[in-house]
């Protein structure tokens, strides 16, 4: 019997960008330039898991960045709650909830919801997430410009991890 279950979450970050501001998923040096190597949250700085980080650029100079962190220095209760960070340099919308420019921590709640917190650990919003149990090769974190592409890409045999996050 399968004991570990998983939720694969696909969530969309929509900006108020114009039609010309298509999302570009960053890779390589451009990705490394924008992703912080560590992230402050609730009293500690934890190293970023660079392999599990991603970023998208909108237009020429607007970014949404996210990554998982090594939370081994945190107390149990914080670590149970905080898994990664989300940085947006313009306001974004998650579901119907608006999130202003800023840096946030995030976690997954117990009822299949994504919780976004401020840097002090205070809950700011909680939004629904959806499962995709059809993914054969789930990854800890990947950004994609289009969900259909994403689904096809990660299920294609022998596709490299880096390729999966960099293709558009």
């Amino acid at each position: 019997m399968k004991h570990l279950s998983s939720i694969l979450v696909l969530f969309v970050v929509a900006t108020s960008a114009t039609a010309q501001e298509k999302a570009v998923i960053l890779a390589g040096a451009e990705l490394q330039r924008v992703v912080p190597t560590g992230f402050y949250f609730q009293g500690l700085s934890a190293p970023t898991q660079m392999r599990n980080s991603a970023a998208a650029r909108f237009g020429t100079d607007r970014y949404v960045i996210s990554g998982l962190v090594d939370t081994s220095g945190y107390s149990e209760d914080v670590r149970a709650k905080y898994v990664g960070f989300l940085i947006a340099d313009s306001s974004i919308t998650l579901n119907v909830e608006s999130l202003p420019t800023g840096a946030y921590g995030f976690s997954f709640g117990i009822a299949g919801r994504l919780t976004v917190m401020d840097l002090a650990g205070k809950d700011l919003m909680s939004v629904n997430i959806s499962n995709d149990n059809s993914l054969r090769r789930p990854h800890p974190l990947i950004m994609a410009a289009h969900p259909r592409w994403w689904c096809a890409a990660v299920q294609r045999p022998r596709l490299s991890h880096r390729g999966a996050v960099t293709q558009r």
Partner: protein
């Protein structure tokens, strides 16, 4: 999830994999809080009424192994690695063990690696020693460490055996925290450390290495994973510093809310090294050129050169702690493609990175393809990757019965072993926690832990219980593991190297076991096959079952199994077919007329008389 936007929008999708309910079967039925993603999941502060990893016995269980350590000189060996508090990560993962026939007398011998201490590393106390025990037969052993010159008075972690110079005598690479060694077997009962001269005196933290001829030139090459970069003169914070002046602002790691030593997460990892052997017997570092240098610097623990696909080229798997595992497919031009993610072995079925420790290599379901079993941290399951073919693997851990039972255990050495000779590879797993403090809490785990033996019932596994008072009822701080038929009775025995303790020698005394056949293979160097046949695959058909065995160096966990290929035959009295795919790709079908013995087969020459 739906999203709203009042205007045209730019959209991105982010996919995250979320592990849920690690204790769904074992903890009270209340919602589980989210735990960190990736790396080690350390579980919630649940209280248990039993340790779950010790003192679990079954009065109806069969007696399979008898511990006979105290009847041998192995009882005098004491592994040592750091201090009892285990404040630093390098004090916890040593050490390996090898079963191999160093003196070519037909009886496999035992080599035990020891760690060291900070004080010893600074010259302030005597350095602990490794030990070599010569097998005299009838469970008599002789400590020949000094004569052989293999005490390795350094901080030892691993041992991998390979006859790198094709002289018919098994050599040893010993991976150290510090400078590693290559012990060349001189053929007279002594070894010489030739690591510097040969160019494999690797520095840093060398873990479970593997020998293999990846480029088909007939000479063994050497792959060595690197673990973590640690400077003994600039140590990371440790739990005993909590609350001290100067400790403010430091990140201290916690296990269930209790400060513990950090790492590896947050510590800089170390790249891996591939040494290519040149015609003159020296080695060159081709890690970057070949594409296996581990530029991400994952925390490497175990590795094995092994045939993953159906071509004649040796592939390479690397098991990493708290980071994705890597699978390198040999392209045949001196380079490899890393396909850990798309192959399915990088992560578990939930897309989660695990704390990979040990690696078992074998075809557990007799479908002709090699599978992998990987041990992981406590509060997480070990993982069995089934080879589906075409370099695709599926995590079948829970489907085959290996999942839930392994969760409270922190696994190290793991090896497939047909202990009952029924023709189906069973599984033996050595366990032991890294935090001594777990014994002070009712967390459902313990520092010393029982080993796990699983019987393979046509591809499904069930735990073989431990009769009260039997060896399997004992709990040890286990690390390395090696298997081999030490007494030549056709039942595979094993040795466990325990952290800061004496080793355990387990004699297989299972009753009603099946018939068997052992193969010692000798490659033809003139045909560019390594003499010790590493990379050779044997397919044996008996009783209608076709089994696959491969000569592998390394794996297990920093350890070396005896390279004699052991086949259980069940009730079959004859070998229907024995096919050998030698390291160089040559295929041979061997006529075997006798069973219940070890035979030697030389490439192109058949069974030795």
């Amino acid at each position: 999830m739906t999203f709203s936007s009042s205007r045209r929008v730019a959209v991105i999708w982010m996919a995250l994999t979320l592990p849920l309910a690690l204790f769904a079967q074992t903890s009270p039925k209340k919602p589980e809080p989210q735990r960190p993603m990736g790396g080690v999941s350390t579980g919630t502060p649940a209280t248990y009424t039993s340790r779950r990893t010790a003192n679990i016995t079954d009065p109806n269980a069969p007696v399979v192994f008898a511990e006979i350590t105290d009847k041998t000189p192995l009882a005098n060996f004491r592994h040592r690695s750091g201090e009892a508090a285990k404040d630093y990560i390098f004090e916890t993962p040593s050490g390996g063990v090898a079963i191999f026939d160093y003196d070519s007398d037909g009886r496999p011998d035992i080599y035990l690696v020891s760690g060291s201490t900070i004080a010893a590393s600074r010259g302030k106390e005597k350095v602990p020693r490794a030990a070599l025990y010569r097998n005299l037969g009838n469970w008599k052993f002789e400590d020949v460490t000094d004569k052989a010159g293999v005490a390795n008075e350094r901080w030892g972690f691993s041992v991998a055996v390979g006859d790198y110079n094709n002289d018919g005598r098994a050599d040893m690479f010993v991976g150290n925290f510090g400078v590693s060694r290559l012990f060349r077997n001189n053929g007279d009962g002594t070894f010489t450390d030739v690591a510097e001269k040969a160019g494999v005196a690797r520095q840093g933290w060398s873990t479970g290495a593997t020998w293999g001829d990846y480029d088909g030139d007939g000479r063994l090459d050497l792959f060595v994973p690197g673990y973590v970069q640690i400077d003994l003169n600039n140590l990371p914070p440790n739990p005993s510093d909590v609350g001290k002046n100067g400790a403010v602002g430091q990140n201290f790691c916690q296990f269930r809310g209790v400060p513990v030593m950090c790492g590896p997460r947050g510590l800089p990892g170390e790249g891996d090294t591939l040494y290519h052997q040149k015609p003159d017997g020296t080695f060159e570092d081709v890690s970057v050129k070949s594409g296996v240098n581990d530029s991400e610097k994952y925390y490497g623990f175990s590795s094995a050169f092994v045939h993953v696909d159906d071509d004649r080229l040796l592939d390479l798997i690397v098991i990493n702690d708290s980071t994705p595992n890597q699978l390198y497919i040999n392209k045949g031009d001196g380079t490899f493609d890393e396909i850990g993610y798309p192959s399915g072995v990088a992560l578990n079925e939930n897309g989660r990175e695990q704390a990979g420790m040990g690696l078992a290599v074998g075809d557990y379901d007799n479908d002709g393809r090699v599978d992998f079993h990987v041990t992981n941290f406590s509060d997480d399951s070990n993982t069995l990757y089934h080879n589906d073919g075409d370099t695709n693997f599926t995590d079948v851990t829970f489907q085959v019965g290996l999942g839930e039972i392994s969760i409270p255990f922190l696994g190290w050495g793991t090896s497939f072993i047909d202990f009952d000779n029924d023709g189906w590879l069973d599984l033996f797993v050595v366990n032991g926690h890294v935090y001594p403090g777990v014994d002070e809490h009712q967390w459902g785990t313990s520092y010393a832990q029982q080993a796990l033996l699983f019987r393979n019932i046509r591809g499904k596994f069930e735990r073989v219980g431990a009769p009260p008072g039997n060896a399997l009822a004992n709990a040890w701080p286990g690390r390395g593991l090696a298997i081999g038929d030490l007494d030549g009775d056709g039942r595979v025995d094993l040795v466990i190297n325990n952290l800061d303790a004496k080793p355990v020698l387990l004699r297989n005394v299972a009753s009603g076991t099946g018939h068997w056949l052992g193969l010692r293979l000798v490659g033809d160097v003139a045909k560019k096959s390594p003499r010790d046949a590493i990379g050779t695959i044997a397919y044996l058909t008996a009783g209608g079952v076709r089994q696959r065995r491969e000569v592998v160096s390394g794996a297990v966990y920093c350890s070396q199994n005896d390279m004699t290929l052991h086949f259980g035959l069940g009730g079959a009295m004859k070998i229907e077919k024995l096919e050998i795919k030698w390291s160089n790709g040559d295929l041979e079908t061997i006529d075997v007329t006798a069973i219940d013995r070890v035979i030697t087969i030389t490439q192109g020459k058949g069974v030795a008389k």
